[in-house]
């Protein structure tokens, strides 16, 4: 790729992909084929796209993900009882919201701030980092981390926000967890400027793990039960710890 803009003298990648998928017909198809006959790189690109094999179709996972797009139970036969329960849960959630109990998911799990010893959040206040106390924070606020290390060698610190986005903060680079050279409460270097992610956001320390494994576990936990699933995963093992950060709406 270079910074020369395509003036229409060659097919774009999208056109090549559409050709590979069999979407092009007539003149469009002929034009791409004419180009491929003279451009080996484009030909190889199309061959490579056609040869790429995806993972086997996992329809239940797709349906589940699709259902979570609008936070409603998946459609299906004989769902009247489930629909009733769903309505009940939504009503309960609305009641909780009315009563001012933020962070309670419709499945009843409490995902408000809770103090943790293994992973401690700190927030910037008057140029010093103070222990996070559950107050609402938002975009531009600054936080830092301490972890309680007991015979652990490494740690990955990540978060999952209410959209299921997994962000890794430690290590700052590479796939191995950040090294822990001493036991006790250890301040991790650096601080974090919060973005506009929707809250609440669950921060998790995963000890003696590498980044891909920790990310994969967090994603699986999210897929199994949203933020409640993440919190359950993060607090159910001795090699993990979690704290919940509450976000301003």
């Amino acid at each position: 790729m270079d910074l020369q803009i395509n003036e229409g003298d060659r097919p774009s990648r999208l056109q090549l992909y559409r050709y590979a998928a069999g979407e092009l017909e007539g003149e469009e198809r002929a034009a791409v084929e004419a180009h491929l006959s003279t451009d080996d790189e484009a030909r190889a690109f199309v061959d490579s796209a056609r040869a790429t094999r995806p993972a086997p179709l996992d329809l239940p996972d797709l349906r589940d993900r699709a259902a979570r797009q609008h936070h409603a139970p998946p459609k299906g036969a004989n769902r009247s009882w489930a629909a009733f329960l769903g309505a009940l849960v939504v009503a309960a959630a609305a009641l909780f919201a009315f009563l001012g109990l933020p962070g309670v998911e419709p499945d009843g799990h409490d995902i408000r701030f809770r103090a943790s010893d293994g992973l401690q959040l700190y927030h910037l206040s008057d140029r010093t980092l103070e222990r996070y106390d559950g107050r609402l924070l938002g975009e531009g606020d600054v936080i830092g981390f301490k972890v309680r290390s007991v015979d652990h060698d490494r740690v990955v610190v990540l978060s999952v926000d209410s959209r299921g986005t997994v962000s890794v903060f430690h290590p700052t680079d590479g796939e191995a967890g950040s090294p822990l050279t001493e036991d006790g409460l250890v301040a991790l270097p650096g601080s974090v400027v919060l973005d506009d992610a929707p809250g609440p956001e669950v921060f998790v320390a995963v000890f003696d793990a590498d980044v891909p494994a920790a990310q994969a576990e967090a994603r699986r936990a999210w897929q199994s039960g949203g933020l409640s699933g993440v919190l359950e995963w993060a607090t159910s093992g001795g090699d993990r710890a979690a704290e919940v950060l509450e976000r301003r709406p």
Partner: protein, 178 residues
């Protein structure tokens, strides 16, 4: 009407490999690319009604998957972008550093991260996907003059923020690292 299992299976057979190829070229690894493909198909199911009206299913999925991938890239960038400061060295700097040397790539990433979502898409389709301005305009749903404006603004910002070495890094980034 929601897509049936058979319809989803047909779409998956036809397009999942191509989307995986596309997502992998942006994200650089199979796991994240596979996740982006799954999420794209989930959105296809969720938006069954509007999806059925598309003349080119791939074009619709292409844009969805591109945005998912760009979000992933942004989140990865956040790892370095967010960790900008030591505990006791506040406040956090808000401007891009202008020093020469090894932070060029970070600065290029920061530029892309700071661009608004529409500009990121325009830059992506035009320079990474080699789309014509008209194709980019059609994909994003804006006019060709707006595409020109977005590109001009991005390049002006890049020229102001980047040193000569970083400008080269911009090219390298688009060529291989993104």
């Amino acid at each position: 009407m929601e897509l049936t299992d058979a319809e989803v299976a047909d779409l998956y057979d036809r397009y999942a490999g191509i989307l995986l190829h596309r997502c992998r070229s942006i994200l650089g690894n199979d796991e994240d690319a596979h996740d982006a493909v799954q999420e794209t198909f989930a959105r296809v199911i969720h938006h069954s009604e509007s999806f059925r009206k598309q003349s080119s299913p791939l074009t619709w999925m292409y844009r969805i998957s591109t945005n998912l991938c760009l979000n992933q890239v942004r989140n990865r960038g956040g790892r370095s972008r967010k960790l900008t400061d030591r505990h006791h060295d506040v406040p956090v700097p808000t401007e891009l550093p202008v020093d020469e040397g090894g932070t060029d790539r970070a600065r290029v990433l920061a530029l892309l991260e700071r661009a608004d979502p529409q500009t990121r898409e325009v830059v992506m389709y035009t320079y990474f996907d080699d789309c014509t301005r008209q194709e980019t305009a059609n994909l994003v749903g804006i006019s060709v003059p707006t595409v020109r404006k977005r590109l001009d603004t991005f390049l002006r910002t890049a020229r102001r923020a980047l040193t000569g070495a970083a400008a080269v890094a911009l090219l390298i980034l688009w060529q291989g690292s993104l």
